[in-house]
Amino acid sequence: MPLTNRLYDVVVIGGGNAGLCAALTAREAGASVVVLECAPRHFRGGNSRHTRNFRSAHASATETLTDSYHEEEFLSDLLRVTGSTDEGLARLVIRGSAECPAWMRRQGVRFQSSLRGTLHLGRTNAFFLGGGKALMNSYYAAAERLGIDVAYDAEVTGLDIAGDGFRAARVEIGGESHDAQGRAVVLAAGGFESNIEWLREAWGDAADNFIIRGTPYNKGRVLRLMLDAGAESVGDPRACHAIAVDARAPKFDGGIVTRLDCVSLGIVVNKHAVRFYDEGEDFWPKRYAIWGGLIARQPDQIAYSIIDAKAVGRFMPSVFPPIAAGSIRELAAALQLPAETLQATVDTFNHAVRPGSFDHAVLDSCSTEGLVPEKTNWAQRIDTPPFWGYPLKPGITFTYLGLKVNERARVIMAGGAPSGNIYAAGEIMAGNILRKGYIAGVGMTIGTVIGRIAGAEAARHAN
């Protein structure tokens, strides 16, 4: 690898969506570029490997998106989940998202047609044909065509920063140390979600029970190096995008197939067989984004979704089979839950269910009365065997604690001054926009728009 003895215009640390968008944009602007990807080639692409779509503002229907999705609506969708945000940066991302699909197509990215596709997101989100790994393959192929150097298995262990300026990144490749020197650097190395030690600092022992849905390579090294170098941080160390996943999921990299969404069709109990939250509060997108955090706050970070035969076939199939039983007591035994309590919880719930007309497609007001907590929609008695149980754990997608940046993607250093030649994009700075919660596809939007800004700015700085 021709890393040492070469001064690149732009060094990109991290080979996911944001990193490649930055690299391609910088190269298009004429800069010489190297991408340092921590993962081996097969697992390249960070968490982008596991993504599927990209939220995109648009004024009218396109090949991939139906109807229109304006800036204000996008912003209000974002604010509804995240509460507060850096509005200037958020608007920049939303506006920039409109022109991304055309640029992405030029890089060889293909999208699904808007006619089909799951999840009812056809208006707001453009789906990558084949998903995020196909997207990343297109980007890497484009990088090769354009003459961008890519180093795999390249772990950045140090940053040479003099004053506020980047000079080189220390990289370990196959046991050898190299210096990747650059006139500018784009930090796109992701969050710290796969660094269990760091998660433990924020969550205590609970962190040991988290499932990490994505890449095991996002250890937050670059984020830590920058914080140690005096960069300003943004976001709460506990804040993250977390969903409910099957407790039998692999510790890392289980991706999309471990998610479970039968919560709304039955009840969810903790390890004491007691309910703890309104399972019928809201539709899929919001439900999806909050249940990880809810389970993280339960004892041993585990919960059990209990449904009966009426729910079968009404939710996306899971990769793991349900634990089935002919009675609630048998199910309790199979799930190792206290049988008396589970029976009592189910009986109490069944007793509280009010008559209504069940419709999973709307907030149907089939609810309970007199329960704590109530179930406010889709409440049906759990009375028809076979009874199914799924164990659930919190599945962390990515963490929000990150580097504060300005609207040119420059990292803000201690004292509030932007760094001279250090830019950040993707998960490592998503906390500027996302404070809590999540809306589908916005992580890729942030990575793409800010990645392209960072790449363009870094190239301009280098020349």
Binding site: H42, G130, G131, K133, N137, V257, P317
Partner: protein, 361 residues
Amino acid sequence: MQIELLQRGEHMMTVCNACRYCEQYCPVFPAMEERRTFGKADLLYLANLCHNCGECLYACQYAPPHEFGIDLPRQLAELRIASYEEYCWPASLGGAFRQQGLAAGTALAAVLSAVMLASAWLFNPGALWRPNPGGDFYSVVPHGVMVGLFGGVSLFVLSSLVIGISRFWREAHHEPAVSLTAAGLARGLRDGLTLRHLHSSGVPCTTGEDVRSPWRRWFHHGTFYGFLLCFASTSVAAVYDALGWSAPYAYTSLPVILGTAGGIGLLIGPAGLMVQRRRRDPALTDPAQNGLDESFLLLLFLTSLSGLLLLVLRDLTAMGILLIVHLGIVMALFVTLPYGKFVHGLYRLAALIKYNLTTRG
């Protein structure tokens, strides 16, 4: 059928059905999404919908070395050969699908040619070396022998193919039952005859990571339509023969024109496919089927080569031997049709028609 293969197939489909990122690549995925369980019949049907491109493998977040180890093109290829064996008639010949190879194909053609040469020499020793100014094939192999031999084998081959494909059709039965409609049939035929699922996203499918090439499809078209033209040539000749107008036919006659055009396709197509498959990413293929693929390509190529040579050299003394070698090769191709790669076309077509009647119906 191996239980382990079915279990792997079920695991794979369970992962895919919980992911669905590939759903717009090809019919395998919409058909999969209609199902919640994946038994033998489901797996063998889905396997025959697969055109063995590489899109889903390269797009897969769970491809090896990921612990889920999903390699759909290869695993569906393994299930496909299992489906040929499963539905084969007579079942005792199912093992033939794994016995083939370049050597076996060549040997079979050589043995059949030798047997025919020996018979010709025994019954009509003079004919083999006689100059044949008119290219009179029947002076070498008598008309009755040729009709009897190929007629008998045809009947057997046809029965075997019909029984196999109807077993497949019945087992991949759909609930509720669907009836064959003209529109569904037409769409299924269109899908099969155009190979549209090898470029359905508007660009050719992958043949390697980041490698897109239309050549696999074009060479397949050359092979298939070449085969069809040769078949048409033979059929027209059979009709002529029944009308009392016997071979050899003039260069400008319909059988010769059809046969020549088909023969050229059947030279270029199989040769191109052979090169293509040897350059393909091994992750996409089932190594157990190399012999199956290559022996079929070889026999097609040799059929065409010997046929074209026979056409050009039919006035020479060597015609007698060449004719018998050609017939030996054709016979080898013919008897292996129900037990070779040929069946993939029938199963694929049946699966595509079923898909257009059910999922897209």
